[in-house]
């Protein structure tokens, strides 16, 4: 299992740095500059991506492609945007995050473990019998706000949470990440319709527009056309961004949070498998596990150095 060594070695080498960075971040003694935040998050995405690959390799099963395409956004959420308390996962005032494209859960599990919701050792138990990390997210896992993964339901659930927040007079936001294949589901558009009606400006949808779904290109399987235009037509405030540009991610989420009177949708153009060259833009890597050589190669690419 020498290849694990390569993943672990990378992590060990950098652990000291992270401790220092995190400590500074958590202390909050001074406000970090935007550039510092971007640099911090960009560094974090390397660990998140490596843990995704490592976890799926060990489980011998999982969905790397869509986890990697979402990695930058989810990292930004968990390490900068979301108001959460890992020591109190059900804190009533927390921001909610729903990974509606639940099959990409290794990206969330990595972030949750790295934020301390549960021990990192759990990442090695993904999809195994008795694990807290099920094949698709369930709300028994600390930090998971709701069971998801049966595609198309996340936006509806997020709408319910947003309405609950409004009714309770809470100021939390609800973030829902959808896949661009997932939005084939009609339920998504029922939710889009209802969210506009109820003016849930505390609901922010993020579409991971990686242009691939399980059987092939989205445009071949079921062309969705201009996704932002569709949400806009339903009455949403919309944005289109490069979902791998950390500065753009942060700036756009900040804008979306400030929208009043309507829900906001960010269509994030991404690359499926981002960060691992042989997975990039290949639909075959939607639900495939890397072998030992591929793992080793992925680690080198993610960390950008020779191990």
């Amino acid at each position: 299992m020498g290849t694990f060594g390569s993943a672990s070695r990378h992590l060990a080498k950098r652990r000291q740095d992270w401790r220092r960075i995190l400590k500074t971040a958590d202390q909050g003694k001074r406000k970090h500059t935007f550039e510092e935040r971007v640099a911090f998050l960009t560094e974090k995405t390397k660990e998140v991506r490596s843990r995704i690959i490592d976890m799926i390799y060990k489980a011998k099963s999982g969905h790397p492609g869509g986890a990697l395409s979402a990695a930058d956004i989810v990292t930004a959420l968990y390490f900068d945007v979301l108001r959460v308390d890992p020591a109190n996962p059900r804190w009533p005032d927390r921001d909610r995050f729903l990974l509606s494209k639940g099959h990409a859960c290794p990206v969330v599990y990595s972030c949750l473990a790295m934020r301390g919701y549960f021990g990192l050792e759990h990442l090695d138990t993904l999809r195994q019998f008795g694990s807290i990390l099920q094949g698709h997210p369930i709300r028994k896992t600390p930090g998971i706000d709701m069971t998801t993964g049966s595609l198309g339901h996340g936006l509806s659930i997020g709408l319910g949470m947003a309405l609950d927040g409004k009714l309770r007079g809470k100021d939390y936001d609800v973030y829902v990440m959808l896949g661009d294949g997932e939005i084939n589901e009609g339920l998504v558009w029922e939710a889009a319709m209802a969210a506009a009606k109820f003016r849930t400006d505390n609901l922010i949808a993020i579409v991971d527009r990686n242009r691939l779904q399980m059987d092939g290109c989205c445009d071949d399987v079921m062309p969705m056309g201009d996704i932002a235009a569709k949400f806009k037509a339903f009455g949403w405030k919309t944005y289109e961004i490069n979902g791998h540009d950390m500065a753009e991610i942060l700036r756009t989420i900040e804008k979306a949070r400030k929208v009043r009177g309507k829900p906001a949708c960010i269509v994030a153009n991404t690359v499926k498998g981002k960060g691992v060259s042989y997975m990039e833009d290949r639909f075959e890597w939607h639900g495939k596990c890397p072998d030992a050589d591929q793992l080793s190669c992925a680690m080198k690419e993610i960390w950008g150095e020779d191990s």
Partner: protein, 318 residues
């Protein structure tokens, strides 16, 4: 219990349930009601009129309604979802299963138009598979009030029972049976007529056919014990066993597919615990049709005479 007299009901169970819901809004200030553009049919508007800020019309989109209810209930709030049985238990079935039952959330279903009680509406609106779908789901409890008082009491039971509860209601008024003050509980039942020779278990509208059937049987000297199994899941095992110890024969009649309804559940229970002569009346692998409720009872084998004949058959008294 005392023998129960029946009187014509002035309101259908869907209305009685909603009336209590509107009253209960003052008892519990937190629960909310979702509906799908049939609030004036389910009478959920009675709640909405009093508590507009807690009443959400989700449009004609039941799938979103149920998944959104799950989101609303995720942090402990109770949500009553109102619609027709066909839409809750089929169109939104996956939402009910995966997002309400699996996480065991406090979502209660006001499900009108159960069985072929919306007789004249035709098959599209007749929920004749709802009990099968709902009783199959882990964590789901299923209640079916027969009359006005039981509808009101079972609203309270549904709200006070943790987790998902499905309440099947009827389109039209039938008869009233219970008196104000009669108790109802999750997992309970009522023996509405006592008898020594055969047990007839029914729920909802068919309780009244069973009562009539008992009258027919009495003329032939057969004592039928009629149990209102208003709690379909969990059902009252003790009451059933107690009754069967006395009668030793069971007829189950239900306004539902014969397959996978209460009859299947009770026959399975009897095979394991007490084997007795048994008959199960319901839709025999068929859909019903448009027509008067009485005509449908006759054609699809659920009238008082069908029930009485079934009892005689298993008692070998035909």
């Amino acid at each position: 219990m005392r023998p129960h007299a029946t009187t014509p009901a002035t309101v259908p169970t869907r209305r009685a349930f909603s009336e209590r819901m509107a009253e209960y809004g003052a008892v519990d200030g937190e629960f909310v009601v979702f509906e799908a553009d049939i609030g004036y049919s389910t009478f959920s508007h009675l709640f909405g009129d009093k508590y507009p800020e807690r009443y959400f019309n989700m449009g004609i989109a039941e799938g979103n309604m149920v998944s959104a209810a799950a989101g609303m209930a995720a942090d402990g709030r109770t949500v009553v979802v109102s619609s027709y049985g066909v839409f809750i238990t089929m169109r939104a079935l996956e939402s009910v299963r995966t997002f309400v039952c699996y996480p065991d959330l406090n979502v209660k279903f006001l499900s009108s138009h159960g069985g072929f009680t919306p007789a004249i509406d035709g098959v599209t609106h007749q929920a004749t598979e709802d009990i099968a779908n709902m009783t199959t789901l882990p964590n789901m409890k299923v209640l079916v009030p027969a009359d006005t008082w039981s509808s009101k009491k079972l609203f309270d039971v549904a709200l006070q029972t943790p987790g998902p509860v499905f309440v099947r209601l009827m389109r039209d008024p039938v008869l009233d049976l219970y008196e104000t003050g009669d108790p109802f509980r999750m997992g309970g039942s009522h023996v509405v007529i006592e008898g020594a020779h055969v047990t007839i278990a029914a729920y909802g509208d068919i309780v009244f056919e069973a009562i009539e059937a008992a009258g027919i049987l009495a003329k032939d000297g057969i004592g039928a014990e009629v149990i209102d199994m208003y709690s379909v899941k969990p059902f009252d095992r003790e009451a059933l066993l107690k009754s069967l110890d006395k009668t030793g024969a069971l007829v189950v009649a239900e306004n539902h597919q014969r397959r996978n309804g209460l009859g299947y559940e009770l026959s399975n229970f009897c095979l394991k615990n007490k084997v007795v002569p048994f008959e199960n009346l319901g839709l025999e692998d068929t859909f019903a049709e448009s027509g008067s409720y009485g005509k449908l009872l006759e054609k699809y084998g659920l009238s008082k005479t069908h029930i009485a004949d079934a009892a005689k058959r298993i008692l070998r008294r035909t």
